[in-house]
């Protein structure tokens, strides 16, 4: 970490008074998004509002590169003001989604009349006194929009009556259709969480016959914000539709400030925005306008825009709050919610079961942010979204395939970082989660329509470096790029990146049938025959060439331009090896892998690559990681227990 000497106010004994600020780091746009969502309880997307945070090394959260520029703050003022306006105007979050209800068809009498239970038979034909029923399991109670389309087939008895029912109670009339006439019935229905039986029933006549063909139900999704009132969250004391009175606004402002600035840990400051509010009122602003502006001011203050970390000599509530927010930032990329803060304060940092906490944090849905930020940046999981691959040369490589490749990588990563997993699975696993298109690329059988689990050929593919998403991301548009693949292994998995290349390097030749250029090895060996290149390229190229059985989009190949591929290699650390599966084993056995994982995590968490002074800390964390049989959970536990993280005096 860059010089962040403890700078708490020195007391007479030369020690540090409790709570001295140790470091200040600007929050990333993505963590501010999480923060606004927690504080304002609305969905916020800042990706098109604030400048993208520059990558520095692998990560976008590094101290050296996160600066305040004038444009940044001007953009933040505009974006935050708009978000606050929206929150105050939002009575309730009503994001909805279309759900696919489980369906079955059964006659009123209880005997199946059409099709089998659980099937999606199409269309559903109703006979006399028939009904079609669905059991729909609602995740949340609330109002759902139901829509049902049907038409009259054959003969319709004018006395027949059709209706829609929920749990046996009529919710809408469905007029009997004329012959071959389409009708749609739409209605808002109130559903309870859990199972609801929805039915379309036609009764009373002698010859009713209708055919149903479309049934949709749209309703609340299981999302933390659904049903929450942002306005009530901000102004619990003000009646709906009315301006708050000054006492209410002041009280709401203090509690908002306490939440927004809690992580910065200076309780005495929480009432300061009241003076701003009063001043705006004295300028003639209405109470709501003054309140909103004050909220914007709190959000734009340096206590909210920065992560302010302090050193604590005790482990009291202030230290516990900082710790809770820091943990939440690491795992969820957002501040802690009230429940997490109170749990940590109740147990105290010193008595906390850090291992359980890490598991709970990773089990939470918000932990997807840990994968999307730390893991994705570390391993380059997003590159597959933007890499240029020639569509002419590889017509199969379309947007769907890119998406499937990335999902497969995420699936692999989630498995490898889960509680009891050995992270080395990342390098050896043959389990994959593939769509039919990706299954075709892998030449495996897939059984369903969407993504399904499959086992890959263990002689060909094991580990993330043998998966199409990584292999394609590290290719040229037309051909493989062994150097880039090798560099990724050394840089991201072993932290042994070679020095920068000299200027005058021509790109590798494109493959051709021409003698001496047929294979990736032929083309790459130019590096190894040049005395200027060999010292840096020998390891990169050797490693990359062992992945040459995978083409530019990761398909297996035995030969290139009619020449059999030689995927063997030898490096001093490992001796002879061959192919991707062997490569994965070598990386997993290499002690540099464990220390590299630690170093990457350390860099991400503390915002700078470890200095020489911090080498002992990294070594100690690495030992804990290795001793746990490479469980990332154990490494994370050791990390959040370390004084550098807890803020305890070093």
């Amino acid at each position: 970490m860059a010089a962040t000497a403890c700078s708490g106010t020195e007391d007479s004994a030369g020690g540090h008074r409790d709570g001295g600020v140790e470091s200040v780091r600007r929050a990333t746009a993505s963590s501010l998004e999480g923060s606004l969502q927690e504080l304002l309880r609305i969905e916020v997307d800042l990706s098109n509002e604030l400048p993208a945070d520059p990558l520095h090394g692998a990560f976008d959260n590094q101290l050296a590169a996160l600066r305040f520029s004038p444009g940044w703050l001007i953009d933040a003022e505009r974006a935050f003001s708009a978000a606050v306006e929206r929150a105050v105007d939002t009575e309730i979050n009503a994001a909805r989604r279309t759900v696919q209800p489980a369906m079955y068809v059964r006659s009123v009498g209880g005997e199946p009349s059409t099709g089998d239970e659980g099937l999606l038979s199409y269309p559903w034909a109703l006979g006399v006194n028939d009904a079609v029923r669905w059991t729909f399991s609602a995740e949340l109670s609330g109002t759902y929009s139901l829509s049902l389309r049907y038409f009259g087939s054959e003969f319709i008895d004018e006395h027949g009556v059709c209706e829609v029912r929920v749990d046996g109670l009529k919710v809408a009339d469905a007029p009997a259709p004329a012959l071959l006439e389409w009708k749609t019935v739409a209605s808002d229905v109130s559903l309870a969480a859990g199972d609801n039986v929805i039915s379309f029933e036609c009764t009373g006549g002698s010859e009713v016959s209708a055919v149903l063909d479309v049934f949709t139900l749209e309703g609340p999704a299981a999302h933390p914000l659904i049903g929450v009132s942002p306005r009530r969250g901000l102004l619990p004391c003000a009646a709906l539709g009315e301006e708050p009175d000054d006492d209410c606004a002041r009280q709401a402002l203090v509690s908002f400030t306490a939440r927004a600035w809690e992580a910065a840990g200076d309780d005495a400051s929480f009432e300061r925005p009241i003076a701003l509010y009063d001043e705006l009122r004295a300028m003639g602003e209405g109470s709501m306008t003054a309140f909103k502006s004050s909220i914007v001011a709190v959000l734009l203050s340096p206590q909210h825009l920065n992560h302010v970390y302090r050193r604590w000599t005790d482990t009291g509530a202030a230290a516990a709050k900082q710790f809770a927010h820091r943990v939440a930032l690491l795992f969820w990329n957002r501040p802690a919610d009230a429940a997490l803060v109170s749990d940590v304060v109740a147990s105290g940092v010193a008595n906390l079961d850090a291992g359980s906490l890490v598991r709970e944090m990773l089990d939470d849905p918000r932990a997807s942010d840990f994968v999307e930020t730390f893991v994705s940046q570390w391993l380059g999981l997003n590159w597959i979204r933007t890499v240029s691959i020639s569509e002419e040369r590889f017509p199969a490589f379309n947007a769907d395939l890119r998406h499937a490749m990335r999902e497969e990588l995420l699936h692999l990563v989630r498995g490898a970082i889960s509680a009891e997993s050995d992270l080395r699975q990342l390098l050896t696993s043959t389990e994959a989660f593939v769509t039919p298109e990706l299954a075709a690329l892998y030449d495996v059988e897939s059984t369903g329509e969407g993504a399904t689990p499959v086992e890959l050929d263990p002689h060909r593919r094991a580990g993330i470096h043998t998966r199409a998403g990584i292999l394609a991301a590290l290719s040229n548009p037309q051909s493989t790029h062994p150097t880039r693949r090798g560099h990724w292994v050394l840089d991201r998995l072993l932290c042994s990146s070679p020095p920068p290349p000299p200027a005058n390097i021509p790109p590798l030749a494109e493959p051709s049938a021409e003698a001496g250029l047929a294979t990736g090895r032929d083309r790459t060996e130019r590096h190894l025959s040049d005395g200027n290149c060999i010292s840096c390229h020998i390891e990169m190229d050797t490693i990359g060439l062992t992945l040459e059985n995978f083409d530019a989009i990761g398909r297996w190949r035995d030969e290139e331009n009619g020449v059999t591929i030689d995927a063997s290699g030898s490096v001093p650390e490992w001796g002879d090896f061959a192919g991707g599966v062997d490569l994965g084993r070598r990386i997993a056995e290499d002690p540099r892998f464990a220390s590299c994982v630690t170093e990457q995590l350390f860099t991400y968490v503390f915002g700078a690559t470890p200095t020489e002074d911090e080498a002992d800390e990294v070594a100690e964390l690495t030992r804990a990681f290795v001793a746990s049989e490479y469980r990332l959970v154990a490494l994370l536990t050791a990390l959040i227990e370390s004084p550098r993280f807890t803020g305890a005096e070093l």
Partner: protein
């Protein structure tokens, strides 16, 4: 197709140019058009010198503007040694060698010095556009931050100016958000009080910080001052017509260039800013120009190794970049200014890369093009400077056009380019 619905077709309340009030006196503006990966110098250098010159094939698109165009050759950017994309881009407007390792540090760039010098608080001090944003695949350059790849403009040694990538963002940035129901002055009063509050909070936080962290809060306070200036500016308004923009991402590389060029024209015409940097790709850009018949990434073909087909592909891409620059200059030339001349006549439009020939990352033999600034510089000439003339001297000369006299700039700038002056 998404339109910038919030902005399209509206008449926006744009900042007033106070200089415009002085009837007949047009302001001078700066446009730096940066292109990545250099140029193949044999195709860039005009064969004849002086005024009997002809445009080289690479710059053919500038033919209609030849009378207002000059080509500079024999420039050198010593600050970029030992060379590479990070060093050359990170130093091209600063003249200072970017620091490696864990640091992000270069120098104050020339556009920022000029911006600060001419800024009277009545407009956005500078606008920074880039056609390429987002993800960089792999590492940028070992030992150098990606920050050097993505920025050419530096407010201070440690703060690069972030770029805007879409017309919508640029328009928001230039014109802000206006509430038609509220008196802009009332709104500005309130915003000013908020800005004042956050500055007070920053100073309170700063009291017990280490010097490095305190420096960060200084940067925050600089940004706060800019916000305050912006709020003041939003009080004064004139009318400025904003055209509709379609979502350029739907239309590919050329459309993005054209739309951001529209923004530049609008910004200058409305006097919303007088300083623009335009990055047509980040350092070492690997964009693919299939529509030019080049299927290899730009960076790859720039390392042509002397191969004729690679050189041809390289030249096709640079000629395309030059067409984009020429089209923008022609737009500016078709836009009348308050003095009866064109906006281009009152704009220094600089076309430059971080290096000369990209094959060797050559920074010893570089070139540049200047359009506009009619009458203020020597137009219609190939100005073959003494071999090894510092790029930083060019910057000193540009600053002089704006009335900013610099004795030194960057590592090696110490003199005016007298050959460039009329």
């Amino acid at each position: 197709m998404r339109r910038t619905a919030a902005l399209a077709g509206l008449t926006w309340l744009a900042p007033s140019g106070s200089a415009r009030a002085a009837e007949g006196e047009a302001p001078l503006r700066l446009l730096v058009y940066f292109v990545p990966n250099g140029f193949h110098m044999p195709a860039f250098k005009p064969t004849a010198g002086g005024t009997s010159w002809t445009l080289p094939p690479l710059l053919d698109a500038l033919q209609p503007l030849k009378a207002k165009t000059s080509v500079l050759t024999n420039l050198r950017n010593e600050a970029a040694l030992p060379t590479g994309h990070a060093l050359s881009t990170g130093s091209i407007l600063t003249g200072v060698t970017p620091q490696g390792g864990d640091a992000v540090r270069s120098g104050i760039s020339i556009d920022q010095l000029i911006s600060e010098h001419i800024n009277d608080g009545s407009r956005v001090p500078s606008l920074h556009l880039a056609t390429e944003g987002g993800e960089i695949i792999g590492s940028c350059e070992p030992d150098y931050s990606c920050a050097y790849y993505q920025h050419v403009s530096w407010l201070s040694e440690t703060v690069p100016m972030p770029n805007l990538h879409t017309p919508e963002r640029a328009l928001q940035h230039l014109f802000g958000v206006q509430d038609p129901l509220e008196n802009p002055s009332t709104r500005s009063d309130r915003r000013a009080r908020v800005a004042d509050f956050i500055a007070e909070e920053a100073r309170a936080l700063q009291l017990n910080l280490s010097s490095e962290d305190s420096h960060r809060i200084d940067e925050f306070l600089t940004a706060t001052a800019a916000l305050e200036e912006r709020i003041e500016r939003d009080r004064r308004t004139i009318q400025c017509e904003i055209p509709a923009f379609e979502d350029p991402l739907q239309h590919g590389i050329t459309a993005i260039n054209e739309q951001l060029a529209d923004v530049v024209e609008l910004a200058f015409r409305c006097d919303a800013t007088r300083v623009v940097t335009f990055m047509d790709g980040h350092a070492g850009s690997s964009r693919i120009f299939n529509f030019l018949g080049v299927s290899d990434p730009f960076h790859n073909v720039s390392h042509h190794g002397g191969d004729p087909s690679s050189i041809d592909a390289y030249n096709r891409i640079v000629a395309w970049e030059c067409r984009q620059f020429a089209a923008l200059c022609q737009r500016l030339d078709a836009t009348p200014d308050v003095d009866g001349r064109s906006v281009l006549d009152n704009t220094v439009a600089l076309f430059i890369s971080g290096m000369g020939d990209g094959d060797q990352h050559d920074v010893d033999d570089m070139g540049a093009v200047i359009c506009g600034a009619t009458g203020r510089i020597r137009n219609d000439a190939h100005i073959a400077l003494p071999v090894g003339t510092p790029v930083a001297d060019l910057h000193i000369t540009l600053a002089s056009l704006f009335g900013l006299s610099l004795e030194r700039f960057g590592n090696d700038g110490s003199d005016l380019l007298r050959d460039l002056l009329p």
